[in-house]
């Protein structure tokens, strides 16, 4: 029929389609964040010093960055643009490439927390407008929170006492204002309060549509609403009977507090409350010993060769041993543990005991320390002969301590903690033995090794770690 007409329609439409397909592809291949990442690479190349780092910077891929936060049921893609957030070299750069300020990221790692848990915003978005969530057409109820209200996020995980101690106390100050100005006279908080006003449970996470936004100045966000409501309630809600008179600063503090009243709880692994389950009272040494040590060390008076561990468990409350070990070394052993054995490291960043608890433990252990020091070992170790010591060791010590001193019935002498002992301490132990343990005295109470021999053995023992 009008085939030429149809041909024209076909070719024109196809051309238009192809043109727009190209536009769409261009749009798909040059998203906002790619530009920022390209800029980042350029800056990085400028800032790093050596060639290897420069070429590494050049070869950084440009791709979407995201934190997958399973426990928070969220994904934060902020770092696709804020690509330099964790790079100290970007400390002086422009936003969004600038490094995150402060050392918050050291204790709130981005991989675990993401960004929106504190800063709000729309984490899934990949362009600035929708990620920041400002503007009615983004349809996002929690846009980027103004910096002055950021502290409202801390209270999700931290209690007021801790925050105050650290100086992040704006929310706490806001709470103080609430308590001093009688807000609960009309507003319920924690289910207690008057009913003239709306209850405040979870008010910090109510969506924008919950509030009458008509008269709000500036950005129509819940943050603005709260602040302006505190300044002049009837401006926003004409029929309000609210009685309030606060300064601008106080209004900001109240806003921070109110924004911290969020519905829902953070999962437990995100919270750091001072009072955790169980230990309400700080525990004393004996309680701690029973709680953590007794399963392996028993009463601690006798050294035990444990079949299950295939290792000798030292008698840590043995007076003879305690005589040799001072508090400082005891604390070190408890804190750092003995690598390669079942003795774990107990410090706060490892097994998790706070320093105070470790000190209490040591005090408890040291109770068994006998008064008086052992007789000094007089023979100068400097004149000792390790080679001779080796002969003696092989004859007298290897049976229990192993041919290379690796332990067995006896302790592992190659252990760095043992190796760190002064040679005099070793010599005294060899000479006097350890009562109530299988370690016999080798001095005049035993096979009567001479001081020279003992010194030789001690100096040999000190070389054990270097031998294979």
């Amino acid at each position: 029929m009008r085939n030429r007409f149809y041909f024209w329609v076909l070719f024109l439409s196809t051309s238009v389609l192809l043109i727009f397909a190209i536009f769409a592809a261009y749009r798909a291949f040059s998203p906002e964040w790619a530009d920022y990442q390209a800029e980042y690479k350029k800056e990085l190349v400028k800032v790093v010093k050596d060639e290897a780092a420069k070429s590494k910077a050049r070869s950084l891929p440009i791709e979407i960055q995201q934190m997958y936060l399973a426990d928070l049921n969220g994904i934060d893609r902020c770092t696709s643009c804020h690509i330099g957030f964790d790079n100290p070299l970007m400390a002086k750069s422009k936003v969004p490439l600038k490094e995150h300020s402060g050392d918050y990221l050291k204790v709130h790692s981005a991989e675990k927390f993401g960004c929106t848990v504190c800063h709000y915003g729309q984490g899934r978005a990949t362009n600035r407008k929708e990620a920041h969530g400002l503007g009615h057409d983004t349809h996002w109820d929690f846009p980027i929170i103004p910096a002055k209200y950021l502290q409202s996020a801390c209270a999700q995980c931290h209690d007021a006492a801790m925050l105050q101690a650290k100086g992040w106390d704006q929310a706490a100050k806001g709470e103080k204002l609430v308590n001093e100005k009688g807000c609960r006279g009309c507003h319920k908080l924690n289910n207690v309060g008057g009913v003239l006003g709306k209850a405040l449970e979870g008010v910090g996470s109510k969506p924008i549509a919950y509030f009458p936004m008509g008269a709000v100045q500036g950005e129509k966000t819940t943050y603005s609403w709260f602040k302006q409501h505190f300044i002049d309630p009837r401006n926003l809600v004409p029929e309000s009977e609210m009685k309030i008179s606060v300064t601008d600063e106080e209004a900001d503090l109240l806003t921070t507090y109110v924004l911290s009243l969020r519905a829902g709880e953070m999962p437990k692994q995100y919270r750091r409350l001072a009072i955790t389950d169980g230990a309400k009272q700080p525990a004393d040494g004996e309680t701690l010993y029973k709680r953590y040590c007794i399963a392996c060390h028993g009463e601690g008076k006798d050294s035990i060769f444990d079949e299950t561990f295939n290792h000798t468990v030292p008698a840590i409350r043995n007076p003879a041993m305690l005589r040799a070990l001072d508090d400082k070394n005891l604390k070190k052993i408890v804190s750092d543990g003995r690598m390669g054995t079942q003795m774990t490291s107990w410090k706060a960043t490892a097994a998790g005991l706070p320093e105070r608890d470790i000190e209490e433990l040591v005090v408890y252990l040291a109770k068994n320390r006998p008064a008086g020091k052992p007789a000094a070992f007089s023979f100068p170790i400097s004149k000792a002969d390790p080679k001779h010591g080796e002969t003696i060791f092989k004859m007298r010590c290897a049976l229990c301590h192993g041919k290379k001193g690796e332990g067995g019935l006896g302790l592992n002498l190659r252990n760095p903690v043992v190796q760190a002992f002064d040679p005099e301490v070793l010599a005294v132990t060899v000479r006097d033995g350890r009562k109530d343990t299988p370690m016999p005295p080798f001095g005049k109470d035993g096979v009567n090794l001479k001081d020279q021999d003992i010194a030789d053995v001690a100096s040999y023992v000190k070389t054990l770690a270097q031998r294979k």
Binding site: N3, F5, Y6, H139
Partner: protein, 518 residues
Amino acid sequence: MNNTNQTGISVFKENLKSIGKSFSASFLRSGRPISDRSRAAAMFNNFFLHVQGVKTHINTLRPGYTLGLGFASFALLMMTVFTGVLIMIYYNPSIENAYNTVKDINYVVFGGRLLRNVHKWAGEGMIIFVMLHMARVFYTGSYKQGREFNWVVGIALLVCTFGINLSGYMLPWDQLAYWALVIVSNIIQSPKEITDSLGITQYFDIGGLSKELFLGGLHAGKESLTRVYLLHIMLLPMILFIFLGIHFWRIRKDGGLTKPEHFVPSAADTEYLSLPEKKGGIFTTSKTYGLMELAHGKTPAVGKDVEHEVLSWPNLLIAEAALFMLCFAGVVVYAFFIDAPLKELANPLIPENPAKAPWYFLGLQELLSYSAFMGGVGLPGLALLGLALAPYLDREQDHVGIWFSNQQGKKTALLSLVVGTAVLIGILAFAINFGWFRNWWPNVPQLLITLINPGNIWVGFMIIWTVFVVRKTGSTRMGAIALFTMFLVGFVILTYVGTELRGPNWGFYWFKSQWPPH
């Protein structure tokens, strides 16, 4: 028997070398379409193409006759299904995940934003084009001459189109989706208005039962999303495709598209085609007949000539290719600039105000504001019934294939348009300005409102006008034209009012800027 020239191995090698040729010969049984005969064969030997005839009447190919509306609807359907299957890869139909997966389709899926936009606009475009196609079929009288049942199938397809659009609208689980779901579930419950007035609800609560079946419970929640998703991707598409198959099948069986009884090819028609030269007679040299089956009743070719028909390959196919590309380009350009809406996450505690159904249901929602039952079930049901019965109530068989049938038809349509517009606007203006029964007599019983409300009055007027036209012209066709025109007027104006002129609390506002700030 081995020929000395060709050992078994060499035969095998030959076969291997000519695999390309032998495969394509087995696949394309008719060879390249370079002669009339092979062009004909290309059509009827092809699984997909043979749904269309080998030859097509010139009238069918005239753009001004059908405006390509039916094919455009089909093209939009193909685009919607194609993009829909693709975004199904990423969408998750649980209320915890649905919203986030739709967001991620927009933000991180490659081409996701464009795919979703195309899906939305092609899907909604289908509604417009399907209605226009229905109008074209109606005004050219193409529901006659054996095509009555196909018209009914078309009405069923219309319902499927609305259903698929509506169910898709509910999937993102944002505020729009959730409140549309609530509204629709209450529309489904609207027979309760009648059973309550009759006092029989406790024995026969068809409204409540339907609502519970739809929602999977008493409230919109995760069960509802599952059911709506099932409807959207499986049940309704299956039903649609079955009906579509029947629809295409019937087009062929009923003799292709309609054409005027005395068709005269124009210069434009003949300019680029070689028509068969043979005049008169049934059998020409270029068409061969084989006995396919013995059938009772009329067949389309009886008594007709093969003149005015041209080979479908390439004449029909070029038209379809052009139209498909035009639709494709149009949708993609639109989708490039305009994003499919997505509001905040669904919040059952915060109703949208105004809570609006998708635009194609806003006319219905306007009627709903007068009476839940009439607006939700009564009047739409009546409209569909009226549409479905049109071919059986108007059985005049002349002037088929001509827009508006004749001069009188054109006048009737125009007059109905003007009168309908005026009357409907008058009814609406009255109701908007002065309210209705309950505003004047607060204790009026609900049943009275159900029976007498602006929607019923409008439909009543439509019927009265139609009867008037039938009596004045003595023709059911004229009456049908009048009624259908009124229906279109009603649909357009009511949809406009519902979309543009209704604000919070369903109050009347001339412009959105006048809406009271929330």
